[in-house]
Symmetry: C2
Subunit: 129 residues, 2 copies
Amino acid sequence: MNIGKASKLSDLTVKTVRYYANIELVKPKQSNFTGYREYSEEDVLKLKFVGKARKFNFSIEECRELLSLYENENRSSKEVKKITLEKICEIDKKLKELKDLRNELSYLANNCHGDDKPNCPILDAFSQK
Amino acid sequence: MNIGKASKLSDLTVKTVRYYANIELVKPKQSNFTGYREYSEEDVLKLKFVGKARKFNFSIEECRELLSLYENENRSSKEVKKITLEKICEIDKKLKELKDLRNELSYLANNCHGDDKPNCPILDAFSQK
DNA sequence: ATAAACCTTACTTTAAGGGGAAGGTAAAAT
DNA sequence: ATTTTACCTTCCCCTTAAAGTAAGGTTTAT
């Protein structure tokens, strides 16, 4: 099938699918006389796989790694679990940062009158030496 | 003072300070015969202000807005509070996304044996149709 | 025959700088 | 006085993961 259909079936944009071909993440065989990319059913499965993993916040390079495990019959689930646990750690770190940030901002907002006067504890906090 | 000192005092890299000058966020007067940027004490205060706001996750454009409020004697704290509350909403949204993601990943990891066998519920989940 | 729908490569843009080259300047050490 | 070292400048490329657009080739439908 052509890229348009592969795009629809995998729920990715044509641009994205073409990008994945360029970076050799999911590379279809090139049909030689039209120059059109020719996608197989299996390619579509791989595209879907990557789409899911991307939604789970895995980077392209991590997707490449997962995909090679996915394709490898001799893989061990240990490796996949390890990558996933690392990703969870990353997310926890980010969550903590965001929570702290939210606390500080909400503290500032609560102490700001929000009226027409220029006094503003938010700006004061930003301009503290 | 030169950019190096302004950089140290504001706790930003020279690259960053130069970048802020280029995008006219914090623009010092250019000393004309050496071509060196000439920073005032007030410029340093602005750089620090931006540094703080950036740490609070405000984008450059939001910093520009906050900075103009900071410089404006006729500002109303209402405006600043509004921008801050919007930022808190954004953070809440991001927090929810990350929490959901974490739940799904941790569910998958918990169900993965993590041994040397190829069966892996994580990969299975990624390849579901 | 022509228009539409689809495909191609290639270039530019995004956010917020980081890295490094090539070269000018200033201050300190010899 | 000269050289070394420490700063400073502009300029260009790199990062993520595509999206936008241009210019042009192909295929299908009317």
